[in-house]
């Protein structure tokens, strides 16, 4: 088995006539945090949705380890261990925190003990969720919903965890917590593909990064390299 968890090769994705991804290639190695940054509308979510099977690419291939997963429907990609925490959290609003977490473990139905253990782990990471376990998802605050969305992803025991803008719309303290959790998960062995607007934060936790511009990869490099790249600093870190 190779060390590469995910490899995306020359992927093109369309919305009708609009070509949102114009031949994207990237890879994620085992144990890495790789980040994908870019402006609004660059195609970051489209990339994740194409990997997870919510969208299917018109050309190119996506492999998990050595197995081609492009073209599979979303539930089959999830079953292979690619788990996406979608943009905007998308928790189930009329289910309790606990039920939401159980939905994350939907495919581990023969592993009751393991599910319990994972839930304990989620509650350790986010004690807030434990306090609110019987509360309906829709009544949680934005930050709590993001924790729940991540917790739901963890419950699936992913081989690759894909996070789409986990810091979106959150207060700085909560963003701090979310990024600490990302690092902690990674140290415990989870491979992560992280999409972010908050380029500074993302690049500071990531091993490597890609910069996406209108459907194409414009730059790639180590996290620290990109963090010090002049073009990145100008465009994404707001420096003049």
């Amino acid at each position: 088995m190779s060390n590469t968890v995910l490899s995306v090769e020359n992927v093109h994705t369309f919305y009708g006539q609009i070509e949102a991804l114009k031949g994207i290639s990237l890879y994620v190695d085992s144990g890495e945090i790789v980040t994908l940054i870019g402006a609004n509308g660059a195609g970051k979510s489209t990339t994740l949705n194409t990997i997870s099977g919510l969208l299917s690419p018109k050309a190119g291939s996506i492999k998990l380890f050595d197995e081609v997963i492009s073209g599979l429907p979303v539930h089959k990609v999830t079953a292979k261990g690619v788990v996406q925490v979608p943009e905007g959290r998308r928790i189930f609003p009329r289910m309790t925190v606990e039920e939401n977490l159980n939905m994350g473990a939907f495919l581990r139905n023969k592993d009751a003990a393991g599910i319990k253990e994972s839930m304990g782990r989620v509650f350790d990471l986010f004690p807030r969720l434990k306090e609110r376990r019987t509360q309906k998802g829709g009544t949680l605050s934005g930050g709590e919903q993001q924790m729940l969305a991540m917790g739901r992803g963890i419950m699936a025991k992913p081989k690759l965890l894909m996070l789409d803008e986990p810091s979106m719309g959150l207060a700085p303290v909560v963003v701090e917590t979310i990024f600490e959790t990302i690092e902690k998960l990674n140290q415990e062995g989870t491979t992560i593909l992280l999409v972010e607007q908050n380029a500074a934060m993302a690049l500071s936790v990531a091993h490597r990064g890609y910069v996406l511009e209108v459907g194409s990869i414009a730059l790639e490099g180590l996290g620290t390299e990109l963090l010090h790249n002049e073009q990145v600093r100008k465009t994404y870190l707001g420096e003049s």
Partner: protein, 328 residues
């Protein structure tokens, strides 16, 4: 106007409400998941009545053996027509077969008439549903009969004597009413438990709250939708058989009025909400019966729809519906 009359009318209403509730669930299940009104649902209810009648004739009408020449039915009929065991088995077979056949038909309709339009504009599947509805009505009209068929054996005897009346105090009750009310309550309780307690039930709820997110959890959305299109029509078929037994006949266009009423019940309860559909069904049944008993039979529909309008004015999402729109 006596108390017993009030109670009798209420019981009639609960009976009617049980039918509405069973039928309303089909509308609400599909709407909850696909945001689509399955206009063909009332025809599945109608077909449930016909399939039930067919099963009853095959299993317990000697004239059918003669007419069809299917001699092997004779010993089968002998079993189903003897004693309590045979009678209970007959009921189970009738409701069970009707529910399964119509449930499968519901899945077939979804697969071929709705699924190809899943990503089309929202109007497209609605039009397709109207098409399916017209097709099914006309199929029955052409291939079975344009007149109403009595829900009896060829000699005119009822399969299930509907009006065996008894009295509690001064209130007249029929066994058929008790049977309908109890069966629908049991089915509703089973469905409620299934949806809230089982893994597949949770997957259904998740799908109706956010289909894409459910897919990301590993739920096969197509299977969940197919299941909803089995359960809804199967319950509708049970209501169709009840309807035939209770009112004594079936006809190709019998689905129209109960269909509209049940859809109304689903909206009153909060469309997409299962308990809402149950509540709306019973409420509408009771209101209608009381209206026809105490005001005038001619006003029952007017009053039913006035209730709908009032509910929508004061609670636009329905009695148990969400106050806020979730789909953004």
């Amino acid at each position: 106007m006596s108390l017993s009359y009030l109670l009798e009318q209420t019981l009639n209403g609960v009976t009617l409400g049980g039918l509405y509730a069973l039928l309303a669930l089909g509308y609400t299940l599909v709407y909850g998941i696909l945001l689509m009104i399955n206009f063909a649902h009332s025809e599945l209810f109608m077909l449930g009545g016909y399939v039930g009648l067919g099963v009853l004739k095959l299993l317990s009408d000697p004239a059918t053996v003669k007419a069809t020449g299917l001699g092997f039915l004779e010993p089968i009929q002998a079993f189903f027509m003897s004693g309590t065991v045979g009678f209970v088995a007959l009921l189970v077979a009738t409701f069970g077969i009707s529910a399964i056949v119509v449930g499968i038909l519901g899945m077939v309709i979804e697969r071929f008439a709705y699924r190809p339009l899943r990503h089309a504009p929202r109007l497209a599947p609605l039009i397709s549903a109207i098409g399916v509805s017209i097709f099914l009505q006309n199929a029955v009209l052409l291939w079975i009969d344009s007149k109403q068929l009595p829900y009896t054996r060829a000699d005119g005897s009822a399969f299930v004597t509907a009006q065996t009346a008894f009295t509690i105090g001064t209130v007249h009750v029929s066994t058929m009413q008790v049977f309908i009310v109890v069966t629908s309550l049991v089915l509703l309780a089973l469905l409620d438990t299934f949806v809230s307690k089982t893994r597949i039930g949770r997957a259904m709820r998740a799908t109706s709250q956010d289909g894409e997110a459910a897919g990301l959890m590993g739920v096969n959305i197509n299977s969940v939708i197919a299941l909803a299109f089995f359960i809804g029509p199967a319950l509708g078929a049970v209501a169709g058989v009840f309807n035939g037994m209770y009112y004594g006949s079936v006809k190709f266009n019998m689905g129209f009025v109960p269909g509209i009423k049940s859809f109304t019940a689903a909206v009153i309860g909060g469309i997409g909400n299962l308990r809402g559909a149950m509540l709306g069904g019973f409420l509408l049944g009771i209101i209608e019966s009381l209206a026809s008993g105490f005001v005038s039979n001619a006003y029952r529909d007017v009053i039913a729809f006035v209730v709908l309008i009032l509910v929508l004015i004061f609670r636009p999402g329905g009695l148990l519906g969400e106050a806020v729109a979730e789909k953004v």
